[in-house]
Symmetry: C2
Amino acid sequence: MAWNKDFESAFYPHAVAIVGLSKSATRDNRVWSSVWFILSYEELGFRGRIYPVNPKASEILGYKAYRSVASIPEPVDLVIVSVPVPALPGVLEDCIKANAKNIHIFTAGLEETGEEAGRELAKEVRQIISRGGLRVVGPNCMGLYVPEAGISSFLDVSTKSGPVSLISQSGGHCNWFVHHGQDYGIYFDKVISYGNAYGFDSTDFLEYLSTDPKTRIICLYLEGVKDGNKLLRLVQNIHREKPVIIWKAGLTVAGSKAVASHTASLAGQQAVWQAFFAQSGAIQVFSMEEMAEIAMTFLYVTPPRGNRAALLTFGGGNSVAAADVCSREGLEVPTLSQDTRDKLREFIPISGTSIKNPLDTGFMYMDLSLLDREINLITADPNIDFLIVIPSLDEIRTKSDEQVDSVMSYLSELALAKPNGKPVVITFYSFRSDPWERKMRARLLFELSNKGIATYQNLNSAARALARFVRYHKSPQ
Amino acid sequence: MAWNKDFESAFYPHAVAIVGLSKSATRDNRVWSSVWFILSYEELGFRGRIYPVNPKASEILGYKAYRSVASIPEPVDLVIVSVPVPALPGVLEDCIKANAKNIHIFTAGLEETGEEAGRELAKEVRQIISRGGLRVVGPNCMGLYVPEAGISSFLDVSTKSGPVSLISQSGGHCNWFVHHGQDYGIYFDKVISYGNAYGFDSTDFLEYLSTDPKTRIICLYLEGVKDGNKLLRLVQNIHREKPVIIWKAGLTVAGSKAVASHTASLAGQQAVWQAFFAQSGAIQVFSMEEMAEIAMTFLYVTPPRGNRAALLTFGGGNSVAAADVCSREGLEVPTLSQDTRDKLREFIPISGTSIKNPLDTGFMYMDLSLLDREINLITADPNIDFLIVIPSLDEIRTKSDEQVDSVMSYLSELALAKPNGKPVVITFYSFRSDPWERKMRARLLFELSNKGIATYQNLNSAARALARFVRYHKSPQ
């Protein structure tokens, strides 16, 4: 199908019906269930009306319950259906009767079970949807998270909105991204978990998001797609304006079998998808972590002129490893110009350091005025397009815990100021593994990225994301 | 050169001289310096004698200081030299005079600087070493950590010994491994950081470790090697008895330049090293993390009969991702037999689960008797060689914090018992990112691996290590 504008009221609903809540539902049920929809709406401060539908209850969790969707006294913008699978046809008929056509089907257990019963029911459900003109997200999915509208399918998520949207066949991956995304400074406009895709498919949501002014970066987790040509055409049209980051899962034999058991999608052939990524302009990733890294890069890094990295690190072994990692990802690590090296040697001793690039000058973190002088010289070098700073947390800490704070606030000002017009990104290294280090690392990742500075879990992540980012901007497409 | 047995007293010294300690050295100097050698020896409870050598001091950190190595009143088993580079020749002459021939040269600033002065001095130092018959570790390195002997080049390390030894040109990588190794349940017999290798090279230490009964697993970090044929021959001879895990760094163009600035080694050509890994039987890794993962696997996993993994996970998206990850690393994820599936369906509901493999049955963690029944059926399946369990921490936590403990103690008993004779390894997943999750994950990784259960940071690590482990055991070499 194509996008249907009438569904848009479901993203910002005034009235939501939830069908399938148990009359004995309690607020302390934190295990993944339909109770989540009420708890999460409440957490996000949803300002519309919530209508539980259950013919056996008069009240659920303090909300007046209704016998049917049709008996709700106002037009319903979104119906969330979480009944057991045999009850699904009846509920959908009720929705048709009520003229409540925007439906999120949470219920699972259809053809993805691989059982005859599931397949039969799937056929019936699809016929009802088609006959009734229902606009369906799902089945077998978590549905919608729109912080601005106060609606969510996950608990303990941020109330803050952002310019990233996610379209995903997996609710688990959405759950991961809405929580872990915060560590990357990523907040969402819309998150759409759509499972088996009986109604809208990824391409329909993509069509919508491509013109949604609040979404600047589009992320997709795909197991299959119904209209591959449409996907190609859409991505080709919008990827220059809005980067499209895609994790196509199930490309291996084992993965493709797992897709059949999950959303019953056709995972498709590896070669077809290779051609898709070569032609579409989409940025391909292979995990949610990679998706988060590259989305953060698009959010917070100004495109550098090229792929030539300067690496400011600590230790000889780390320098070699850093150069290898960047090189394997397709970044260049050029030797600094003789002029830059002469100027660095005026204040950096020879013994135990290297200033060619990678720069092994860890002790500079002890004196921020020297560090500043060093970074200004590096970024002024004509051989360099951007700088990756890799402080060793334990070395800085040997001076004092406060020194870590001083170094990080210096680096964050620097990154925001872009010395000599060159992007600066940050990652960390620790020789030690202890509670201090883990806590500090988590704090710095969160705080720096939330200030708008691209801050990566490790150099592999940084190099991988930056290489893709540069390729995207250099590509002729 | 070849291994010299007279150096072995340096691994278990009775008397150690430290040349180059400042007379104003203080115990609160925790920044990487020669003071570390005294502090770390004290931390490890070194029971021999420590002799600071400094003609300008009578006492350093409470130890009587000596004018020269020759003036020390007993034979010295190990001299640690950390003087500024121009003083190096004089100190080495002093050692020759004292007949103290086991030397660790910490001092850096020789040919790795790329400067004429460094190259000249390097030549002189090499001549003195050769003429005096000195047995040298270094220069430009951290030297020796032997917990059993109470000697160390790093602070805050474990006093516990173990069957792993590490030979590394980088002191930083040693520092990482001796700290992070504990999270993998890895403890060391000997750690040798040997830098520029003027005396012993990796092959010499390898020769020694191959017959050292305390070392069962050998890890190497190499930037270059002087005698590649010797390395090949040695590894071929010993890798069946003692696995040899090698990270050869500097294989990219940028990495090879960084090697020149670090230990001035010749990094060599990629093709030559590819042939080495194909012929030697060594296990190749590309980071310290990978080295730790595979070393832990050799320590704690009984070789499975083949590469067919069962994956016990949570969530459909995670199942697809898990299958893809294992498949890409070269593991098979076969569908469970019909018989096993029929038996599982007797107590696992259809809706929202998958039992084909990967098994998406996360809620089983709520009832350990059901989980046990499930795991016994999976491991009994003739299509399966081993099991990777991937609990979702946040799902288990929704029941109670204590439930995490119950699940983990159940899983650790199970892994140690090897149900149906099949290895069980563990890794984790978390939808959430919060302090509880980070703390719990760190605790579980440490505790489980220290019980002798292979426990990985994530599924990528587990799949990568297990695939290499199976290949090692299947290889005809």
